[in-house]
């Protein structure tokens, strides 16, 4: 295998708050090869969005970022602003969660697409316009020429997310980060948008990071999954291996919290009880111990390291891993 396209090493993000420093991302290591898909999964507030912003160098001004984000041979954290700007859209693109707020309400769709293309590719206005129309058509927007003159509020949510994807794809990036790309959309649209992303990824041989709270979203689509909890990666494995044998009780709980079609009506959803720990107060033990049904003495005393399971590429951070020997259970 060649050198990975993206290597995140020891990345930590701290946000100053009135109650003290909040550790949003707690020393995360990840890597992703060209053309592959990584799913980052975790509940709200686990740091997955902050991690994506740290990769994109779009953290809030007050946030403190440490560690290295090696992308295509360069450390994005230490890259000069102008070099970083030139690399955006061409190499590194993003689709945000909420298409209702991520498009500028006072600029036409055509402007928002063409400005990206003209900034990074040496195309004149007619060529950029032609490319915009092709992109809109590629993401499944009917009558793309008419859409160019319209404003975002004249399009539906699903349509807007398609436009956001067209903008992200406009300069053929090597890596696309999709931050909860379907959370703000109707369930019926979600699968369409995910399939669109997967199709365009294959076609353009682009690497992709899908960030989601829904293990179901990454199940058939990611090559590898990283589960985050309280700012840390607590389990990381090739997708198939993870779904076959998850070791981290938190991953199991996340999976159990997905509503299933075959469940009888009015069955209570097995939500994860309790809340994530206060990120402004570092814990001594495992951050999930408070909510974990397997937790015992040591879990409250020491922090489990992320270590290798018997399968290659499968890492987990737990003292009492489930499904170690007996195969599929629980």
């Amino acid at each position: 295998m060649s050198a990975p396209l993206l290597t995140i090493a020891d990345v930590a993000v701290e946000l100053p708050t009135p109650r003290g420093n909040l550790r949003a991302v707690d020393h995360v290591d990840l890597s992703l090869e060209a053309g592959r898909t990584l799913g980052i999964v975790g509940e709200s507030g686990c740091g997955k969005t902050m991690l994506s912003r740290a990769i994109l160098q779009l953290l809030p001004k007050k946030a403190k970022l440490s560690g290295r984000v090696m992308f295509d041979g360069q450390d994005l954290v230490r890259l000069a602003p102008e070099s970083l700007r030139r690399l955006r859209a061409r190499d590194l693109a993003v689709v945000f969660q909420d298409p209702m707020t991520s498009l500028n309400p006072v600029l036409t769709i055509g402007t928002q697409l063409m400005e990206t293309i003209q900034e990074h590719l040496e195309l004149d206005a007619p060529a950029a316009r032609k490319r915009s129309i092709e992109l809109l058509a590629a993401v499944g927007i009917p009558a793309p020429e008419q859409r160019l003159a319209q404003y975002p509020h004249q399009c539906s949510g699903g349509m807007r997310q398609r436009i956001a994807i067209a903008i992200a794809l406009s300069c053929e990036p090597k890596l696309l980060i999709a931050d909860e790309p379907t959370t703000a959309l109707d369930v019926t649209i979600q699968a369409q948008i995910l399939d669109l992303l997967a199709r365009e990824q294959r076609r353009r041989h682009m690497a992709m990071i899908i960030i989601t709270h829904d293990l179901g979203v990454v199940a058939g689509r990611a090559d590898e999954v990283a589960v985050m909890y309280a700012g840390r990666v607590v389990e990381r494995a090739p997708t198939q291996a993870l779904f076959k044998r998850m070791h981290m009780p938190y991953t199991e709980a996340l999976l159990a919290a997905i509503p299933k079609l075959e469940t009888a009506p009015h069955t209570p959803l097995p939500a994860i009880s309790g809340r994530p720990p206060d990120p402004t107060r570092p814990l001594k033990g495992c951050s999930f111990a408070q909510r974990c049904r397997y937790a015992a003495g040591r879990c409250h005393e020491a922090k489990p390291e992320l270590k290798s399971a018997e399968m290659p590429g499968h890492l987990y951070a737990c003292f009492h891993p489930i499904q170690m020997a007996e195969g599929i259970g629980a």
Binding site: L58, T101, S102, V106, E119, H120, Y151, H153, I167
Partner: protein, 316 residues
Amino acid sequence: MVAFVARRFLYVVPVLLAVSLLTFLIASLLPGDLAYVILGDQATPEKVAALRHDMGLDQPIWWRYLSWLGHVLQGDLGRSFRTGQTVLQAVSERIPVSLELMLMAEFIGLLIGIPLAIACAARAGGAFDRFMTGGAFAMLSMPSFLLAILLIYLFAVELRWLPATGYVPFTEEPLANLRFFVLPALTLALAEWPGIMRVLRSDMIATLQEDYIALAKAKGLKPSRILFVHALKPSSLTLVTVTGINIGRLLGGTLIVESIFALPGIGRLLVGAIYTRDLVILQGVVLLVACGFVIVNFIVDMLYAVLDPRIRHGHA
């Protein structure tokens, strides 16, 4: 868009009617009978009664309002009983002065306020931002007569660059006319820019937190394009409102500045009318100024629609 303009215009009609009624009531309810004012202390009751009858003052107030409104709608706002000038003549003589002063003052104010607001918002909380926010506050609390005197002292007395007082019409000597307007316009502008800056700065800071600004950065656009194209337009709605109010206010003339710099504008016409109890002029000028205010605000509403397509399409 046509429907939008028509709808907005329908709101203007009742506002103008209310303005005319209020103007009429203020002038009518002022103490002192107009007939006595005209005839003086020596008037006999018979003479007063005759004049009251001639002027229609013995009619009920609603009748007087309707007949005045009828004349106004035909373009007849009345005639000063002191100078014999019609209201329209008096106003059309003075309005170019107030209009020129207003335009210059607003232009300078925006020229100072907008770039400063953008510079502050781009680095909110930084040293420059804190310095300018404090400076704006200091300027805001300085009365205009003090500013006027300081400017006269500096530019007219010490440096002798500009005339302190006086006026020639633009049509006679354009350059001299502009020179006369620099100091009064600057006096007004120095009071205008802090408001402009503060309003735009805070809107701009809020806009820069938006997702679409993060996306604009993620798209690798130049910082200047993000500030001027992506952030300025959606941040300028309050700015337009404030500018509209300022313009409306300055349309009515600026008493203190016009007096200090000896400019024959609307402000001095109004004050003169009050001193001489020239109610016809007073009533007419107030009505015209109020109409100007309403029209400026109508234009502001139109500008909203230009700036924000959601308003244009009736979504917000």
